[in-house]
Symmetry: C2
């Protein structure tokens, strides 16, 4: 028998993807052969997924002129959050926000959500109510109507949000469109959320750090702001490939490059690091570049674009920073350090 650690998260995702593609092929063959699956009874005119597997969200047939987007994300206690360390309202908002970010990374906007709560019996009703209020308030911010779901008993608390979205036909930005010679860019700043998490996990904190800096970094960690308007801008003819930064760009750039069949060169001295991150890293004795590369949970948009299409800012004044360029696949993923040395890009967060 094979352990998960042996194949790793990338291996598991690849296995699932292969199985899904085989099944999709069987389904398509049955459809073309007139052997409608039992119970399908499907009205004419519905086609298969435009792009299903291996992206931030699936791209499905939608109303005229649009594709429907569908994504799902689960947050598990002890893995994605520590219950005593985050307010229930922030946790609820976060559960929706990480899904909204997946829709943003396709160039779309979110529409409807369902929520499945797995609840230990010991949880208090007031805590759950605050969580749900936080989730719904985040929904109101992004125009998402929450339309039911499931509540089940469990040993550990987790919550799963499935989110629908829409994007105009031909405007969905996939992970697979990057081409050598294009620029690699990112919205906002990287590593702030990771620095917030470090501050949270160290009981002693960083006594020398300005409390306002600390508060801002914790806020970046607790209440990430999905880049919906920015993603809409990027989908209007700018980005050729896009992904949201959930596991750190070291991991997420790897996904994008693997889907596009390209390599990448990133410059450490071009990474957009906020003054807050630099101050916290200094106070904590950590490398700010490592936090920016491997920290994750920034929920910024990482994308590729031809140089002439790039703009310095997007909707709402959000800055865009070019951090590197797309290269041929056989050149792999490399990081050019501040001293000019080039090393393989380190790996970011992996679940297994």
């Amino acid at each position: 028998m094979t352990g998960l650690r042996q194949i790793g998260e990338f291996g598991l995702i690849e296995l699932i993807r292969q199985l899904e593609e085989e099944a999709s092929y069987r389904l398509e063959m049955a459809r073309l052969g007139g052997r409608a699956p039992q119970g399908r009874l499907r009205a004419a005119g519905l086609s298969g997924a435009v792009m299903g597997i291996g992206d931030d969200a699936a791209v499905l047939p939608g109303r005229p002129g649009f594709h429907t987007l569908l994504t799902v994300d689960t947050l598990v206690e002890g893995v994605h959050f520590l219950r005593p360390k985050i307010s229930p309202a922030d946790l609820g908002a976060r559960a929706l926000a990480v899904n909204v970010s997946d829709i943003a990374a396709m160039g779309g906007y979110p529409t409807f959500a369902v929520v499945s709560l797995a609840i230990p019996e010991s949880l208090e009703v007031e805590w759950l109510e605050e969580l749900y209020r936080g989730l719904l308030a985040e929904g109101t911010t992004w125009g998402v109507q929450v339309v039911g779901g499931d509540t089940v008993r469990a040993g550990e608390f987790s919550l799963t949000v499935a989110l629908l979205g829409e994007v105009e036909e031909g405007r969905a930005v996939l992970r697979r469109g990057a081409r050598p010679g294009e620029r690699i860019a990112v919205t906002g700043t990287l590593g702030d959320s990771a620095a917030g998490l470090e501050l949270l996990l160290r009981e002693s904190g960083a006594p020398a750090l300005d409390p306002e800096v600390r508060a801002r970094l914790l806020a970046r960690h607790f209440t990430p702001r999905p880049r919906v308007p920015e993603g809409r801008d990027l989908g209007a003819g700018i980005a050729t490939a896009m992904i949201d930064v959930s596991d750190g760009i070291a991991t997420d750039l790897r996904h994008l490059c693997s889907e596009s069949g390209v390599g990448a060169r990133i410059y450490a001295d071009r990474l957009p690091l906020s003054p807050d991150l630099r101050a916290a890293a200094a106070a904590l004795g950590l490398d700010p570049v490592s936090l920016a590369l491997s920290g994750g949970e920034d929920y910024e948009l990482l994308f590729t674009a031809p140089e002439e299409k790039l703009r310095p800012t997007l909707a709402g004044g959000t800055p865009v920073t070019v951090i590197g360029e797309v290269v041929e696949a056989d050149r792999g993923l490399s990081l050019v350090r501040e001293d000019g040395r080039s090393t393989p890009l380190p790996h970011g967060y992996r679940h297994f």
Copy 2:
């Protein structure tokens, strides 16, 4: 602070529903007032949910002539299944089937699914692969394309399926359409899955029971068959309200009546009990009527209809049995026993 047991599963669902309805109202007001939520940037023509909360699936705007259906269900190890007792392929199939059943209960057919797996590190890859193969095979049966999802680390294994479906406009069967005087009916037989579970949980089994009966009841438990073609028939002008039997009709009829604002009278001697169930109940020393009422996981369709619309069988020859009638709300939910005595309908399975 309030414990979950104090408000119960119905109380929790009611609380969540209230919060969702308040939020939907705020969203609608913002939309009508021209205060588009930040980031919505929504194309004209998209309206809110037709029917969101408190049904088997949400009814959303869809392609011309159709509504989109959306449902989500989580299965948790130790609550919904015991890992050593079910094969991974059956578990995967079951996770999809229970969602397909929710779509069937709306009168619709399923289309696309995403899957979120919460995985303890100790799980073997082969086990996960078999689970996924089972899930995909069930998808092929029902014409469902599985288009990605999420894999996360967790302490206990759970899997969440979010499933889309479609139904022709005006044909979605809600829980809320039942009217006094109508008949209450159910497809197939009740209690077989519960009997299968009892056989599974008793190490000694029921030695006197015919092994073939045992095998059939275990199959009813492990591999429920969602009633998609039957639900399509019932949605074509027969059923006025419908729900699938996941927690036992004692619980699910309560949901339907509560949504419709009606009461119900059920006759114990009309419940469709299979010879297998009767044999197993006798061998186990259990009451077959209790198994049929409170056992759950039958995934039959429970519906109401005017008497003149009823047919003895549906698609595929599936039998329909009238088990009672809809009454005024103030008469509550009652069970007429074999001896003619009327008692309040007992409660079925509750998570809290």
